[in-house]
Symmetry: C2
Subunit: 402 residues, 2 copies
């Protein structure tokens, strides 16, 4: 049995939004409404700074129909934040907890946010302030440890898979273009790998997929593209925004604002790669960079992703009421042929600031494709995707001499 | 009364595909099947070159259920082509017409394709070869003369409107970013203008919209963005890939393969504009470039656009059977509050190689937005788009001193 702990709950968002971060909010709110222990749910405006600044939506007083609708909308309706959280911020947050009788803190974010959640858990323990801290996973990059996958990944994967299917249909329509598609994911290959999910036949796009876990020598890229182009007369390449060459260089891409993130990030890798191919292969090469559309384009919401994000929210509330703290909710894939998941819990220590890279055994030996095991893993998360129909190959006999 | 003309029909695609070029194919085929005059319908593979090379799908022998499904798929299932058609090509095409008893030629493309259709009409007349040539409009750029709008535009407009709505939801979620979204349309503003279609409230993205018909001085861009950023703490800018500054320069963007198109085209205008803003305003600015996704992303098919594209295909066949030649099918908006269109015909002479620019009276005086008349024009073409829901503004009272 656990102690009953009555008080206010806070939900805050950390890092970039996803298709389903609002679904998790709906799950937290719906489960909160069922509880007698949680007396009110506050939503921090604009992330952890909103907690420190007592800047809260009163989520308990929101209309239920509107919340249901918000639970299918992209972006963070609370607002989120990025950047370093200082020790002073943490001290301030504890004072805010005391002032509002906050006994439950739900922090929905990536591994950086989980690190902040861990610091707050430890500081509260030191100060003997009783608050239960539960992390909620969220990242399109799918790079959190301890969980089978992350809410947000399935929908972003669906976007990438459909984008490459559709760009592939466009690419087949015109003679001899090479198309480079820049995919998000920072330095993890989970999203760029999802570009393979809608392929059906040999010759379907993308023809080459590069995961940033493996350096891509420029000469290998040229040889790969040249081989596809000679065979098909076209080529579609899916490449991660964080891809580096054998010398750790981003193909001449510009660095995006290197100071504001704390990690190195390029802003036009796809374009730089296209220019490199233009220059060296002398074949018309263009690039697309959907960027934030990949985490916000509402049409690509994966129903599985949405449902799981919602259930994570509910599970966090239940776990906290049952006395858990210092944990992150995880998704646990169940055995069996049909896909099914449940939720679990992992210690924040095991996920804070840890990055789960794309498994090297899921990268094809040639380094330019993914293995079938990855497709089995990711398909149920992205949901069903139909390939586009094509004409039957019924041709007319020629009547003229050449 | 018209003369009955029995023979084969050819359908060919010209220029880049759209969401609905296959819907027009389905319309042509379905109407052909109803006719006794047209004995077979051939689909040219890979555009006009497929006609010259007698490289034809036999569309008459395609399965009807598959054609219905193809009529909702992006890309060109026939394949299309770009580039100059020589006089020799035209002579060869006439010989192919003779060899296959082709009496009907349907050419689905933009103003360049209409010019080719006109040349073929004239050559056939000179040679007294009886063939009825009907152009079918197609372009996401919406820049064909004589027609109210072009099949392909409504779906591409829907994509752009939803993209800006969704990127706007993402942009509201994080502090202080400026987002530049590069929109297709070459040197016509029709598509970038469609970025306004999903706005509901003041403050909704995009906050600035630039049509390439009006030069954009760099200093005006800086002042516009600075004003939005000071007011909202963020800014989303929709800008056309073909936008030029007051000196006719593309903000330092790279030229895309200037020789292969016959017109000047940049390959990274959005990125160049973002770098310019980063440099001058010192605020973190990123860019997105969906590019070909805007004409292929199947999720954004506009039902109106699809239906109209299909009806254009049917109308072309009916017009040809009734004796018309040297014409392009047009869409004619009907008077009345509820949107309704019918098809009409225009002489190929009036559309061949003519570009219909975005009307200057639909650009706001400040040059950074569109006028409501444009929204009335474009909304029914893109179809209904729901804005994303937001939280009710119910806040919690602060309890701590600053």
């Amino acid at each position: 049995m656990h102690d009953t702990l009555r008080g206010t709950a806070i939900l805050a968002h950390g890092g970039a939004p996803t298709h389903v971060i609002n679904a998790t909010l709906a799950g937290v709110l719906d489960e909160t409404r069922r509880s007698t222990e949680i007396t009110a749910l506050y939503g921090a405006r604009n992330g952890i700074g909103g907690v420190a600044g007592e800047d809260f939506f009163d989520l308990s007083r929101q209309d239920a129909a509107r919340i249901a609708s918000i639970g299918r909308a992209p972006g963070s309706v609370l607002g989120s934040s990025r950047g370093h959280v200082t020790d002073e911020d943490c001290e301030r947050i504890l004072r805010v907890f005391e002032a509002h009788q906050v006994r439950y803190f739900f922090y929905n974010g990536g591994n950086g946010s989980m690190h902040t959640a861990l610091r707050l858990t430890e500081l509260a323990r030191q100060k003997s302030y009783e608050v239960r801290v539960i992390g909620l996973p969220k990242t399109i990059d799918n790079d959190l440890a301890e969980t089978d996958h992350c809410p947000g990944y399935g929908s972003a994967a669906r976007f990438v898979a459909c984008a490459l299917r559709d760009i592939g249909a466009d690419n087949r329509s015109l003679p001899s273009p090479i198309e480079v598609v820049e995919v998000m994911g920072r330095d993890a290959g989970w999203l760029v790998a999802a570009s393979a999910l809608a392929r059906r036949d040999a010759g379907d796009a993308p023809h080459l997929i590069y995961c940033p876990e493996r350096p891509l020598p420029g000469e290998q890229l040229l040889a790969d593209v040249d081989a596809v182009y000679r065979k098909l007369g076209r080529a579609v390449i899916a490449i991660c925004e964080g891809q580096l060459d054998e010398e750790g260089q981003p193909f001449g891409a510009d660095l995006a604002d290197p100071h504001s993130f704390g990690y190195r990030m390029t802003s036009n890798l796809g374009h730089a790669v296209a220019e490199f191919l233009n220059e060296r292969l002398k074949v018309r090469t263009r690039s697309a960079k959907p960027r934030v559309l990949g985490r916000s384009s509402a049409a690509f919401l994966s129903e599985t992703d949405r449902d799981e994000a919602y259930e994570c929210g509910r599970a966090a509330v239940r776990a906290a009421i049952e006395g858990e703290t210092g944990k992150m909710v995880t998704l646990v894939r169940q055995p069996g042929a049909a896909y099914r998941s449940t939720t679990g819990l992992a210690a924040l220590e095991k996920v804070a600031a840890v990055t789960k890279l794309f498994p090297s055994e899921w990268i094809a030996a040639a380094g330019n494709d993914v293995m079938p095991q990855f497709l089995d893993y990711a398909r149920p998360l992205a949901g069903p995707i139909e390939p586009h129909p094509r004409l039957q190959e019924v041709f007319v006999e020629k009547r003229l001499d050449r």
